[in-house]
């Protein structure tokens, strides 16, 4: 198992290296395609050529591309100094670059916005995983019952409705019409845990409604397939309780695809839940990346892309490792 994890970690590093090279290319392709100067993007409105030259020196934009990339990689591990004589900025490791717009290390921007995204993603993930699998199991056990049909109907609606619709309806009814959860805004968990949960409830429900629907359908399909397997019949024939047959044998096997998709979904959400953040007015990684795109803040685009890629590949790795625990048929050697 350890060997397997080590092998996969090496692959993770290789993948991130490739992603970093590709996204680093953005630095040179975008300004070339739009006939703009990278330094001018940093320099604000109508900069003089002197200012642009100084910025090019400060950020090493005149160096050959491989040298610039090397400095970038070096910065990730040991930090970096941006020096232009009078103005010296230190970017500590892991330095993912320096924001053109906010003039701060990209890592600082990401870590500042990350708690919002993590709070939304983790809470919603717990909700949708519990609700989705529970509904899926119950639907499978009561196949073609009223509950099954109603649950799957709601699931279909959940998958079909975009998050900005569900979110706005929830905000409109619960926040503004009924005043049950007024003034939804992000509060840090360390500031006030109760307020944190209260304010995140609507984003959690919106996200969970979208994802739980899919998980319910997947769980139901997996359970129906598994319940028809020979080993389930054998388990029942051996006299095991129905609870044990469902919980220990049927559900574990049905969970394998759920775990796979859960890892990907969670990884993706941690890379930024853009629509949810915009709908509820939260400022997380999604907002950071959209703002960076609009402002052509290339270092932030690069940093967030790498960051999101890291979450997704790590989530994949964790999922693969979890297989061994979830599904008794999987063994890594």
């Amino acid at each position: 198992m350890l060997q397997y994890i080590a092998r996969r970690l090496i692959l993770v590093v290789v993948l991130l290296w490739i992603v970093s090279m590709v996204t680093f290319g953005i630095f040179f392709l975008i300004p070339k395609a739009t006939h703009t100067s990278t330094a001018a993007l940093f320099a604000g409105k109508a900069p003089t050529s002197d200012t642009i030259k100084e910025i090019e020196v400060k950020f090493g934009l005149n160096d050959p591309i491989p040298v610039q990339y090397w400095h970038f990689v070096e910065g990730v591990f040991v930090g970096r100094d941006y020096d232009a004589g009078a103005s010296r900025d230190h970017c500590p490791a892991p330095c993912l670059g320096f924001s053109f717009v906010n003039n701060v290390p990209v890592w600082q921007e990401i870590t500042s916005d990350l708690p919002v995204t993590i709070s939304m993603a983790i809470g919603a993930a717990i909700l949708w995983l519990l609700a989705g699998t529970a509904i899926g199991v119950l639907s499978a056990l009561r196949r073609r019952s009223f509950f099954d049909r109603a649950a799957m109907g709601v699931a279909l609606a959940g998958v079909s409705l975009p998050i900005y619709f569900t979110g706005l309806v929830l905000l409109s009814l619960i926040s503004y019409k009924w005043n049950i959860l007024p003034n939804v805004h992000y509060v840090g968990i360390t500031q006030n845990p109760l307020s944190w949960a209260r304010n995140l409830l609507l984003p959690w429900i919106s996200l969970a409604f979208l994802y739980a629907a899919l998980y319910a359908r997947l769980t139901r399909a997996g359970m129906l397939e598994t319940l028809g397997e020979d080993y389930i019949r054998t388990a029942r024939a051996k006299g095991l309780s129905e609870q044990r047959v469902i919980g220990r044998h049927a559900l574990r096997a049905a969970l394998t695809p759920i775990v796979t998709i859960f890892g990907l979904d969670l990884g993706q959400l941690l890379g930024g839940a853009i629509l949810t953040e915009y709908t509820f007015g939260f400022v997380g990684i999604g907002k950071l990346s959209v703002d960076a795109i609009f402002r052509q803040d290339l270092p932030v685009i690069l940093g967030v892309t790498l960051f999101a890629a890291f979450f997704i590949v790590m989530a994949n790795l964790i999922v693969d490792v979890l297989y061994a625990f979830v599904d008794p048929r999987v063994r890594y050697s």
């Binding site: 703009t36 910025i55 009078a86």
Partner: protein, 605 residues
């Protein structure tokens, strides 16, 4: 000053524009030496009450003012910010030598002394300006504010690689040697590279004593008191700015000289201001500092912002760009909500620049064909109609700018376009069947909509317009800011918006039509207008210290531009529909701040 998708800024509301202009023209609007903060003109809570008067007049102190917007300020460093509403925010914690008078209507266009005990005076017709600073002023850390901190603040603007983003007029006028071809100053590079051990090496600003600062300009500038009302004249403590917290990081906690100071700031998310105990009301000519705390929160959902304002959860949307289309209908159809709303002119003129170096627009008759043939009504509709979009424009100078004179040289059926007359002009310019040209526009929803409106209206006279879309973030500075590229790409028409950095003709026109300011990059004279007569009139107006006489010249510049050059087609004077919570007191539109409310005057009921 930036606001939304246009560059720079100006003032006032159309409903009061006529009276405002009358005041200005008759010489009643030009005082710059009086104090502000007189008795507020209370207004009943009806539609547009905050444009001409003050809503909910009150002296009640205490409470928290909750500000909101869909984005953070560009910078809080007074030398770097260029967003109109952020200049307004600066009034809460920054005090410059001069400031805009805190009054609604045309009075808000005037500047009054702030840190200075009286408006700057010039003994040589506008080349040397002297200011006396009030005594006993302190920064939030208790250190004294002297003339040296004012000089240092101005010096920072010269350090382009560190302090960039804001206006750089002071560099042009205070560079000890002529500025280089790109507008930079070779002889002084700012206080971070200063050879003077005290970082006060700029020879063109002298400080004979702690209370006196003298500016030795390289040319006569009649508007210098307005330039000193820009945030960059806010003093900056030297030791603090030279420390690790200063320079490019100063924006994260500018040292307050005003009634409020930074308590916490989370970039892109929120800002909390609390009372600055080292500020004294007795030293301030107009700020009342009614509330105890000001919290500004970024909310990414514009619809949610509108709901928060309507439901009194948030107090003011500082961006001033106006409510969303759906909310606009809701407000206008609900008498209670409408009575809470204001619809000020934001001070910007939307226009189409005709590139005079791109054939066939090098022929004036072809330009006149566009002046007559374009449909301003369709353009107005594409921008959101009379309420959300603005009033139809017939002059480049905005009604809110001093010097505005109403005229219409190209009558076009109330903005619908005069196709017959346009075709006549086309025949005169040798293209009776029209021609094909390119038009630059922003790749935003409104940018696309207005380009389509122009395309359709010019199609009626046979001009085939091909639309080139550019990214909004770099549209002005780079997409249409390089004349050579525009010529190469055959861009005969360019969509643009313009508001002055201060509400005078110079603030409005200086970069827009001065032929000597056509830059290879970052150019703002998109039409490449270079009329010797206009250039000469600009010089004459710039050197005129009498505001009324200068205003008259600017009005003439506008007429000369429209009649002889016809290189710019004024389309609309921007307007926005705005609403506050009912808890806000002393709310009025500050004309000089892009038609945004004066935040510093506000209290809570």
């Amino acid at each position: 000053m930036r606001r939304g998708s246009y560059r720079r800024r100006t003032l006032v509301h159309a409903g009061v524009a006529v009276s405002a202009i009358a005041l200005v023209v008759s010489g009643c609007g030009g005082s710059s030496s009086g104090g502000g903060g007189g008795k507020p003109k209370a207004a009943a809570n009806v539609f547009n009450a905050g444009v001409t008067g003050v809503r909910n007049v009150s002296t009640k102190t205490g409470g928290t003012l909750n500000l909101i917007a869909d984005g953070d300020c560009d910078y809080y460093d007074p030398a770097r910010t260029y967003y109109g509403h952020c200049w307004d925010m600066q009034r809460l914690f920054s005090r410059g030598l001069m400031a805009y008078k805190p009054e609604p209507g045309s009075a808000g266009l005037d500047v009054v002394p702030d840190l200075a005990s009286e408006a700057g005076t010039s003994s040589d017709g506008g080349k040397t300006w002297t200011y006396k600073i009030r005594s006993g002023l302190k920064f939030e850390d208790g250190s004294p504010i002297t003339s040296k901190e004012v000089k240092y603040a101005i010096e920072r603007v010269f350090a382009g690689s560190v302090i960039n983003g804001g206006p750089t007029y002071v560099v042009s006028f205070l560079c000890p040697t002529p500025t280089n071809s790109s507008g930079g100053c070779d002889s002084y590079k700012g206080p971070y590279k200063d050879k003077d051990p005290n970082h006060l090496g700029l020879s063109t600003i002298t400080t004979p004593d702690d209370q006196t600062v003298v500016f030795h300009l390289n040319t006569k500038v009649g508007d210098w008191n307005y330039i000193m009302a820009l945030p960059a004249s806010t003093p900056v403590p030297i030791a603090y700015d030279q420390s690790s917290k200063g320079g490019a990081k100063y924006t994260f906690h500018p040292m307050s000289s005003g009634p409020y100071k930074f308590a916490s700031y989370s970039p892109g998310k929120s800002l909390t201001l609390v009372r600055n105990t080292n500020w004294s009301a007795s030293s301030d000519p107009f700020r009342k500092a009614l509330v105890d705390k000001i919290v500004f929160t970024v909310d990414t959902n514009d619809e949610d912002i509108d709901n928060r304002l309507i439901n009194n959860i948030a107090d003011v949307d500082i961006s001033g760009v106006g409510v969303q289309v759906a909310t606009q209908s809701k407000i206008l159809t609900n008498p209670t909500l409408k009575a809470r709303a204001d619809n000020p002119v934001t001070g910007a003129t939307r226009y189409i620049a005709i590139e005079s170096k791109v054939a066939p627009f090098d022929n004036k008759d072809c330009r006149l064909a566009v002046q007559y043939g374009i449909s301003k009504v369709d353009f107005q509709t594409a921008r959101g109609g009379p309420i959300g979009g603005g009033d139809i424009a017939t002059t480049m100078l905005n009604p809110a700018v001093k010097g505005y004179t109403k005229f219409d040289l190209y009558p076009d059926n109330n903005g619908a376009g005069d196709v017959t007359k346009a075709k006549e002009e086309l025949a005169k310019c040798g293209h009776p069947n029209g021609f094909t040209t390119h038009m630059a526009t922003q790749s935003t929803t409104k940018g696309k909509a207005v380009a389509a409106a122009v395309q359709n209206s010019l199609k009626r006279i046979g001009i085939n317009v091909i639309i080139d879309e550019g990214d909004a973030a770099t549209y002005y500075s780079q997409f249409i800011g390089a004349p050579a590229v525009n010529r190469q790409k055959d861009r005969g028409l360019m969509y643009a918006g313009w508001g002055a950095d201060w509400p005078t003709g110079y603030g409005f026109f200086s970069s827009l039509i001065d032929g000597r300011k056509i830059l290879p990059q970052g150019n703002s004279n998109y039409s490449e207008t270079n009329d010797p007569k206009i250039n000469q009139m600009i010089d004459q107006a710039v050197g005129t210290t009498d505001p009324d006489a200068a205003a008259k010249i600017w009005g003439d510049v506008d007429k000369q531009l429209m009649s002889e050059d016809a290189t710019l087609v004024p389309m609309t004077y921007d307007k926005a529909l705005v609403i506050n919570s009912t808890n806000v007191t002393n709310a009025f539109i500050l004309s000089s701040m892009l038609g945004i409310y004066d935040f510093q005057a506000m209290g809570k009921s």
